[in-house]
Amino acid sequence: MTLDLDLLPDGGMPWLDASGPEGQIVLSTRIRLARNMRGVRFPPHASDAELEEVRAAVVAAARASSRLRDAVVIEIDELPRLERQLLHERHLISRDLAGLESGKAVRRGAAVVTDGAIAAMVNEEDHLRLQVVKSGFAPSPAYADLEQLDRELGTQIPFAFHGEFGYLTSCPTNAGTGLRASVLIHLPGLVLTKEIAKVLQGLAQVGLTFRGLYGEGSEVVGNLFQLSNQTTLGKSEEELLDHLSKIVRQVIEYERQARDRLVQNAPTVIGDKVWRAYGLLRYARSLSFEETMNLLSGVRLGAGVGLIDEVSIYTLNKLLVYAQPAHVARRAERGLTDPDLPAVRATFVRQLLDDDARRGPRAGPSTSDG
């Protein structure tokens, strides 16, 4: 099976256009609900036959729903590694579902049913992980979409639900509501002013947790943090989202203040940092993934505080996705470990930035597709 992600509107990433609230600081808001089918063992313990049965039931339920009726079904256990990683890099599926965790193979029956904006991951750690991603900071609209899909699928598939513990999940850290909301946020101001440690520590005290770009266990690259609720039980969905929203608003405000201070107190330092980053991205002939992410962070900061207007946030979001290893490898039609990938990446980055610069200040969405 060959994967054609162009079948999905916006390649499955409608959040790239940075049209959502607080788009200068918050890239996306993702919410997921964990659900399991009653009477079937959880995926880590289930037999191949059970996993297949779950997949068939979910696909049938999705076809009967209003939201996923015409969705694309991607059978992940049929895909080669590069394509699984590609899906993961687009945040369409988790690392676990992509079978990228070290020492673990892709699970039988692993699938994603998606229309790009909303998706049902099948046979992740739980039978079902419903997920929605929105541009910018938008927890309430994201949850509203998800709630409808959850209700529709719940009438087709009997979910495992407990009178006391709520929705039952493979790992007790997800039980209850099964709800995890995470906000992908860019915090270079707090990193540069060295206030980030204090902020992250504060988050832990109020029941929030942070992760890197790729979710659980991943490192922070390019000053991008995923902030999410740590607990899922004992509070209602609304309370969990309200709490997260309140805290994230505060973090956004801190970041804004940090940026203002940087621009006021160290305009030369910050200007130099931003333009150097832009210069390197625009002219370098070989770029590693990590270097690209860090330089993109500098340019994003510059665009956010109005220092650079040659490049749009949309282009920066696109680069964030398309400069990742599997995307570059696929573009070059090479393997993931090919030594020429940094050169291919640099050429691609240069192309997109050139396009934006040619279009002039505050360019709209780029047409050169990835």
């Binding site: 880590p44 039980a175 509070k235």
Partner: protein, 168 residues
């Protein structure tokens, strides 16, 4: 007050345990508390679930009998030991099979073991009761008991415990 284990650092954790009406108190510094497998809110964020699991059914700071580890889920055959090893439960029935241990674990992770979010009506119809539905009052009593223990109101805690036993 000094830590009663190392005698060096100040005691910041004061743990009260009641097992079969025997009331014991421990006063520990944070390091010794961690060394004894006791999780506190301060240490909560720093420790992954594996650390919680390590104390499950081992009797540390809990009233759980050690035989819990050998309990087996009647539906999938998983044991509490399996759960401690992998961090993943076998199936939804495990939540009832290991109810007592899980309730405690859920409280440690989430600060509560009671779902207050959206209810779910199974498409199978009302003739099938939700899994493990305990009388709602008993669940509420358990929460009250937990709060009473936390507030060190032992008289109330004992009354609540007897009340729960009589109803179960």
């Amino acid at each position: 007050m000094q830590c009663q284990r190392c005698g060096e650092r100040p005691a910041v954790i004061h743990l009260t345990t009641i097992v079969d009406n025997t009331h014991t108190e421990q006063h520990l510094c944070e390091a010794c508390a961690v060394a004894q497998g006791i999780q506190t809110e301060a240490t909560l964020a720093k420790f992954p679930i594996g650390n919680f699991l390590a104390t499950l059914g081992s009797g540390t700071a809990t009233a759980q009998p050690t035989t819990d580890a050998e309990q087996r889920c009647s539906a999938c055959g998983a044991t509490l030991q399996d759960f401690r090893d992998s961090g993943r439960l076998g199936c939804s029935v495990c939540y009832d099979a290991f109810g007592a241990s899980l309730r405690m674990l859920l409280r440690r992770i989430h600060g509560s073991s009671r779902h207050v979010g959206e209810p779910y009506a199974s498409p199978l119809g009302m003739d099938v009761p939700p899994e493990g539905e305990p009388a709602a009052e008993v669940a509420a009593l358990r929460e009250q008991l937990q709060r009473a223990v936390e507030a060190e109101n032992f008289e109330l805690a004992a009354r609540l415990r007897d009340e729960i036993r009589s109803r179960e």
